[in-house]
């Protein structure tokens, strides 16, 4: 086996208030790292975080305080050099670090430079909205003096107006030709990959480490996607299969309320799990008490307006009122199996639930009816969670405004026939984990898998819609 690649150390440096801590938060998917605020000097020390690929540490990132006094420091550094003496960059920096000012006026800058000398490279974070000034050039001259490769990272490029072109030009004039755009709040889906591959070009020796890291990140991303799809699919099947019996003579309204309550709680459970999966906090989404009441996006699941907002046409039964979102059926599920299902059951699975089938037949004879959640509500749930998944994937951990996912343009889900998986779940009351007769079956597993894939398949128009905003 080849020797284990060394851990790559990278310092994140830059002018004050350009989003260095934000970059670290987004790259480490850790929304609690350091302190972030729109003011200078928020970070006053060096703080590190380490990325692992397959359990092995591969990359150490160090957040540093902002450079604030570049012009004065460069002047001071030049004075440190005796006339007639030739000092190279790192030697000059070392002399500064050993001197008195490293603990005085330039204490913050000294911390940055000390860390940079220990690292293999630096990411120079730029707020692309700032103009290119002399102080930035002096700062870069000092940083370049450390003799480490610098990769300029243009932050805040997703929000015009910005001066990214101006910065690119200026960086090229300073000899920094490898540059990368990375918005810490709304990073591009392949933003991390771009950043690390550019870094790999500067660090030939560590290219293998970075390749391993990128492969691991891609695998993690895919795993997260699949897990998210499963969470939503399971939730939809649970709610689609949910049936509440209404015994003859019983008040329907109480049953409707119970049905709604169960559906709402199940959706909230799914939202919580999604947030945890993507390592976001409740505040990232729950600022408006979501998704159960209040607010626009947070509109109640059973409010007709919530359906209209998602562009779902209302069925004739779907009106505001006591029965909104629920459908009363004769007791037929399980008796109205499709032919294929029936044949399959005959070939194997009639044993399972045969006793329950008897109960159902009995219920039908007694004239019981049962409540199910409306198709329109299922569509709303599917669209809403799809939107949330979409938004979570594209959100940086530096973002501080709560998310407002846009409804995806999944016309098929909105208007077409209900996905097959959900229609099948409708006829299988025992598939709902909310039911006391819940029984897992291999078929449920297969259906959940298929539904998850359907939800993750991004129709092309959905992507276009997301980029347009």
């Amino acid at each position: 086996m080849a020797e284990a690649p060394a851990i790559l150390k990278v310092a994140v440096v830059g002018h004050t208030n350009t989003g260095k801590t934000s970059l670290l938060r987004t790259l480490t998917r850790d929304g609690f790292f350091g302190k972030v605020a729109d003011s200078p000097g928020t970070t006053r020390h060096v703080e590190g975080s380490r990325l692992l690929a397959e359990g092995r540490p591969v990359l150490e990132l160090f957040d540093t305080p902002g450079m604030e006094d570049g012009i004065a420091l460069l002047e001071y550094l030049e004075r440190l050099q005796q006339p007639g003496e030739r000092l190279d960059g790192p030697a000059r920096i070392q002399r500064f670090l050993d001197g008195p000012q490293a603990h005085g006026r330039f204490e913050q800058e000294a911390r940055v430079l000390r860390k940079l000398l220990e690292c293999d490279a630096a990411l120079y974070v730029i707020d692309a909205r700032d103009p290119v000034l002399g102080k930035h050039r002096d700062e870069l001259a000092i940083l370049a003096g450390c003799g480490r490769p610098l990769l300029p990272v243009l932050n805040f490029v997703r929000r015009p107006p910005h001066r990214a072109a101006e910065w690119r030009e200026a960086m090229s004039r300073l000899g920094l030709h490898a540059q990368v755009e990375f918005d810490t709040v709304a990073p591009a889906l392949d933003g991390e990959q771009q950043l690390y591959s550019k870094l790999g070009m500067l660090l030939d020796r560590h290219q293998r480490t970075l390749a391993a890291l990128m492969a691991d990140l891609a695998a993690q991303r895919q795993a997260r996607r699949e897990a998210a799809g499963r969470l939503v699919a399971d939730m939809l099947i649970d709610i689609a299969a949910l049936r509440l019996p209404v015994r003859s003579g019983e008040d329907e309204r109480a049953a409707v309320e119970s049905l709604r309550g169960q559906a709402r709680r199940r959706e909230q459970q799914c939202v919580d799990a999604l947030l945890a999966l993507y390592r976001f906090r409740h505040e990232d989404y729950a600022a408006e008490p979501l998704p159960l009441d209040g607010g626009r996006w947070g509109m109640d699941l059973f409010h007709p307006q919530a359906l209209k907002d998602m562009g779902i046409s209302l069925g004739k039964g779907m009106v505001a009122g006591a029965m909104a979102g629920a459908t009363l059926d004769a007791f037929t599920a399980g008796l109205s199996l499709g032919t294929a299902t029936l044949l399959g059951a005959a070939a194997g699975g009639l044993w399972q639930g045969a006793d329950r089938l008897g109960q159902r037949v009995l219920g039908r004879i007694r004239g019981w009816r049962e409540l199910t959640v409306d198709d329109a509500v299922l569509r709303l749930l599917a669209l809403r969670q799809q939107a949330l998944m979409h938004a979570l994937e594209r959100r940086g951990h530096a973002a501080r405004d709560p998310m407002r996912p846009q409804p995806p343009a999944d016309e098929a889900l909105r208007k077409g026939p209900l996905p097959e998986a959900l229609s099948e779940a409708r006829s299988q009351p025992s598939w709902s984990t909310l039911s006391e007769h819940y029984a897992d079956s291999p078929r449920r597993e297969a259906v959940a898998r298929a539904l998850a894939e359907r939800l993750l398949a991004d129709p092309p128009d959905a992507r276009a819609g997301a980029d347009a905003r």
């Binding site: 913050q108 102080k135 005959a346």
Partner: protein, 465 residues
């Protein structure tokens, strides 16, 4: 993989799946200690999930539940096996009858093989229909065990087992194997019974019909006997078949031929296919059990990833924060005679035109300060001719940093009065409040801070805001 590893792996995965389902149904278990132990255990993410489940399961008493269920399942298997023996012996004796009258060969064949062939065909058809439920008998085994194993979490054990095996694809092979084993036992018992009874008692064989021709039976006996004949089983010849209409006395050779024919049919159409199917199912199930995996995308596992196999570790800070250096203006400027005024722009972006308004004659207005040299030039000029009023134009869109504030402080110390004009960054964020705070901290709390162009121009010319 050593042979002993397969059952251990099954037990470990079964337990992990039980824990997963339990957490999915009744909410997460308190697992701080289990996670710590799993992290200490090391290995891949899958190993850690298994280790965590082992700790949690032991705490919750799940292995006992699983053991109970396993015992119940074995007991059910034993009962089913006994039933198979009884069914086989019963079928064989029923097929031959009591010997008081000749055995109807077709009925005997149907009794011995009918149900078996029907269920075998249905099992084969389940492949075509894509149903993965397994077989009736296998399901019956599960159902009976469920009835037998009661107690807390009893329902979880079979649920976890079926979910685990179904994901792995080996459930149908396991249930199919049980079903085929049942039939194999029943058919072998029938065969044994047939051999014993036919060896020790005398039976006559006959066909009966009201509707069909004798020739039909001749060809039927040949068709049925064709395959067994390849394996050395006798087939009654045409004359014997024609003679076996129940009206003629049969020679002893004919009885032997008929019983050989019946035994051959039972072996070749009964025992052999079931044996092959059982071997096939058993080998597939074995292979499946060796390939048990933790699926990291399952709800319940996905959320464990960051805790069991963290992708990020914090490294801590280099040193605690020090008192930050803040440039500070000593004193409040000094009196300067005259009414000279200077307008200076500090680090303004190039897209703000400079000067921004027509400056009255006599007011000095150097280029926007950006580089060290420009700073130095203005400082030199001011120290030679201190102005009475110094107006500094700053970009409110930028972040006020220490370097800029140090420059402002240095400039202000050279002038009589200093005013700050925050040029609205027409683009970008507005950080005017931060400027005010930082200016106040730098000792410029009394300096007028203006935001309007008119205010700034008036202050510059007349000294009032």
């Amino acid at each position: 993989m050593p042979p002993a590893a397969a059952p251990d792996a099954l037990a470990a995965h079964w337990l992990a799946e039980t824990v997963r389902l339990r957490e999915a149904h009744w909410g997460p278990l308190e697992d701080a200690d289990a996670v710590r132990q799993a992290l200490r255990h090391g290995g891949s993410f899958e190993d850690r999930v298994l280790a965590r489940a082992r700790v949690l399961g032991a705490r919750e008493g799940l292995p006992a539940t699983l053991r109970r269920w396993r015992h119940a399942a074995l007991a059910t298997l034993a009962v089913l096996g006994l039933a198979a023996v009884l069914a086989g012996a019963g079928a064989a004796t029923a097929a031959l009858g009591d010997g008081s009258r000749p055995t109807n060969v077709l009925w005997a064949l149907g009794t011995l093989l009918g149900l078996h062939l029907l269920t075998l065909l249905l099992w084969l058809a389940s492949f075509l229909l894509g149903s993965s439920e397994g077989s009736w008998l296998g399901q019956a085994w599960l159902w009976l065990t469920r009835r037998l194993a009661r107690g807390p979490d009893a329902a979880l054990a079979p649920q976890a087992l079926t979910a685990l095996l179904a994901r792995n694809g080996s459930l149908r092979w396991l249930l199919g194997g049980i079903s085929h084993a049942w039939w194999l036992i029943a058919l072998l018992t029938a065969l044994l019974t047939l051999l014993v009874v036919l060896s020790t008692r005398r039976y006559g064989f006959a066909w009966e019909t009201t509707l069909l021709q004798p020739e039909t039976f001749v060809s039927l006996a040949h068709v049925v006997g064709w395959l067994p004949a390849h394996f050395g089983f006798p087939v009654p010849d045409a004359a014997t078949v024609r003679a076996s209409d129940g009206m003629h006395a049969l020679p002893p050779g004919a009885r032997a031929a008929w019983s050989g024919w019946l035994i051959g049919a039972l072996v070749i159409y009964g025992v052999a296919p079931r044996l092959l199917a059982w071997l096939f199912c058993a080998s597939r199930a074995r292979r499946g059990l060796r390939r048990l995996r933790i699926d990291p995308s399952l709800p319940g596992h996905a959320n464990l990833r960051e805790r069991l196999a963290p992708s990020v570790e914090r490294l801590g800070i280099d040193a605690p924060d020090d008192q930050a250096y803040t440039p500070r203006l000593a004193g409040a400027g000094h009196a300067v005679a005259g009414s000279t005024a200077v307008l200076a722009g500090i680090e303004l972006p190039a897209d703000i035109s400079w000067p921004p308004f027509s400056v009255a004659e006599g007011i000095h207005c150097p280029a926007v300060l950006d580089t060290r040299e420009q700073r130095k030039a203005l400082l030199d000029a001011l120290s030679q001719h201190p102005p009475a009023r110094l107006l500094l134009a700053c970009d409110a869109g930028q972040t006020p940093d220490r370097g800029t504030l140090a420059l402002i402080v240095e400039l202000a110390s050279l002038a009589g009065r200093t005013g700050i004009w925050l040029v609205r960054g027409a683009s970008g964020p507005d950080r005017a409040q931060q400027w005010r705070e930082r200016l106040a901290a730098a000792g410029l709390a009394t300096a007028p801070v203006m935001t309007g162009t008119d205010d700034a121009a008036r202050w510059l010319e007349h000294g009032d805001g």
